[in-house]
């Protein structure tokens, strides 16, 4: 029934079938929910809903970032039965659509928290993020051992460290600030 619903949305059904589908939608609450979800996705994709001017781009980017998640499911379904695969596609699309809407809403309404969420989801985005941002705090999870730590320490304990004196200059020896790029 779901593939008929999908075909109906695309305007590919003849009059007889349309009547059957409409009847089904009226009677079947689950199907009605499906229909509403499809319509919402359609509205959003057409830009009828006030979401964002680059919504489609962001959905496409989101789909690009998650191909490894979708491919195995699609393959399994295909080997089982092509009919099953066809019926899964609209479901997958609706899940992706809803996920994309949720993601867009999340980034729209929770910008600061959203940034770190994106960084967690995709390492590629994290890279872009760190290049694009200006002054940024140090990564909390950085545990890389700096191979030059002992050299810097010995240097600082022998010298005045420029105008900085005392233990303050040793912040250079123990800082994680300098490690995330070049050292």
């Amino acid at each position: 029934m779901k593939d008929k619903l999908s075909a109906f949305l695309d305007g590919e059904l003849d009059d007889q079938c349309v009547r059957t589908v409409l009847e089904e939608i009226r009677c079947e609450p689950i199907l009605r929910n499906e229909w509403e979800t499809y319509c919402l996705i359609g509205d959003v994709l057409r830009g009828d809903e006030c979401v964002s001017h680059d919504f489609v781009d962001r959905v496409m980017a989101e789909i690009d970032t998650a191909p490894t998640l979708l491919a195995p499911i699609a393959k399994r379904a295909e080997s089982a039965a092509s009919a099953g695969w066809r019926s899964l596609m609209p479901l997958a699309a609706s899940v992706m659509g809803v996920a994309a809407v949720g993601w867009v809403a999340h980034t729209l309404y929770a910008e600061p928290a959203g940034a770190s969420h994106v960084a967690e989801v995709s390492p590629r985005l994290q890279l872009v993020e760190s290049q694009a941002s200006g002054v940024r705090p140090v990564s909390v999870t950085s545990t890389a051992v700096d191979p030059h730590q002992e050299y810097v320490f010995a240097h600082q304990s022998m010298t005045g460290g420029g105008p900085i004196s005392g233990a303050i200059q040793h912040v250079r020896s123990i800082s994680e600030v300098g490690q995330d790029g070049v050292r």
Binding site: S142, H155, M158, T159, S175
Partner: protein
């Protein structure tokens, strides 16, 4: 009208030489005040360390008693790390890496070495002047500007608290005037009593830790077996120490060069498989530049809070000499 101009001119000739004579000396004396205040005063506060585009917040407590200086710095961002320093020892505690690095005072060398007592070298290598009086961490601060006279050193802008002379902010600038490193108090309390408890290490050490002792033995210049082909103007050899640098390094010869403000360390150690992986050209981390090269079977590492060209030139000039 004429007599007014003459009088003004006369006054001006009286004032000008005085002002000219006062400015550099005055700025130099501010450097002396800063060095003394950093050692003698009790203070505690929070400061931000910025290197390139990243920054980190730390807390510092400094105390002076009959036994000398006691100091503790704790990094507040990221993994917990601390530096605990007394008159006889400095240790960096890095729980994340299960590592503690310790250096103890020994031999003839004053510990820890401080801003040089003679500021002559500074005036030779930097143009030094007083800047504006501004406000840092809620306090009035005098700005001191040091501009390098050649391309082998960085420039500095320092802000000292007017009453005590304590350094509240320090900026290191490259030859384009870009900030490459900055220390700045955001909040500081100067004076008052500080309990001994506040300067004791807080991070617990349990289980198996890597302990790196870097205590050096000072050796005579002629015993080192190394020399510089073409010295860099303004930088002179201050001290030579033989010191261990941990498991991966073995014993290294540590030569320290200084221009009165900035310093360069040159480490010379036998190349091995462990340290060979580090033997790759140049690296930079904020204000500290690192340059490595192989000289026969030796790995030479030059680093310091100077431009890359300076460490590179010094490392390239190092050569073994007949004893």
């Amino acid at each position: 009208m004429k007599w007014l101009l003459v009088a003004l001119g006369f006054c001006f000739t009286l004032i000008q030489p005085q002002a000219m004579a006062q400015t550099p000396g005055d700025a130099l004396s501010w450097l002396g005040r800063m060095a003394a205040a950093g050692q003698r005063l009790n203070y505690s506060g929070t400061f931000i360390y910025q290197s390139g585009k990243s920054f980190e917040t730390s807390r510092v407590v400094h105390m002076m008693d009959a036994a000398g200086e006691h100091e503790r710095v704790e990094v507040l961002d990221g993994s917990p790390r601390e530096v605990v320093r007394s008159s006889s020892e400095v240790r960096c505690i890095l729980p994340d890496q299960r590592t503690v690095i310790i250096d103890r005072a020994g031999g003839r060398r004053a510990f820890p070495a401080r801003l040089p007592s003679s500021f002559g070298g500074i005036a030779e290598n930097y143009r030094i002047r007083k800047g504006e009086v501004g406000r840092i961490a809620g306090m009035e601060a005098q700005q001191i500007i040091l501009e390098p006279k050649d391309e082998y050193r960085f420039g500095y802008q320092l802000w000292a608290e007017i009453q005590s002379g304590l350094l509240l902010k320090s900026r290191t600038l490259d030859d384009r005037g870009e900030i490459i490193e900055q220390f700045a108090f955001s909040d500081v309390k100067i004076g008052g009593d500080i309990a001994m408890e506040a300067v004791r290490p807080r991070l617990a050490r349990e289980g198996d830790w890597k302990v790196v002792h870097t205590n050096g033995v000072e050796i005579r210049r002629e015993e080192s077996g190394w020399g510089v082909q073409a010295p860099i103007a303004g930088f002179s050899l201050m001290s030579i120490v033989r010191r261990p640098l941990g498991r991966d390094h073995g014993d290294a010869l540590h030569l320290v060069y200084s221009d009165g403000l900035a310093a360069i360390s040159v480490f010379i150690e036998p190349a091995s498989q462990a340290n060979g992986r580090l033997a790759a050209g140049q690296l930079s981390t904020g204000a500290i530049n690192i340059y490595k090269r192989m000289v026969g079977p030796h790995l030479v590492t030059a680093l310091g809070e100077v431009p890359l060209r300076t460490v590179q030139r010094l490392a390239d000039a190092m050569e073994p000499v007949a004893r």
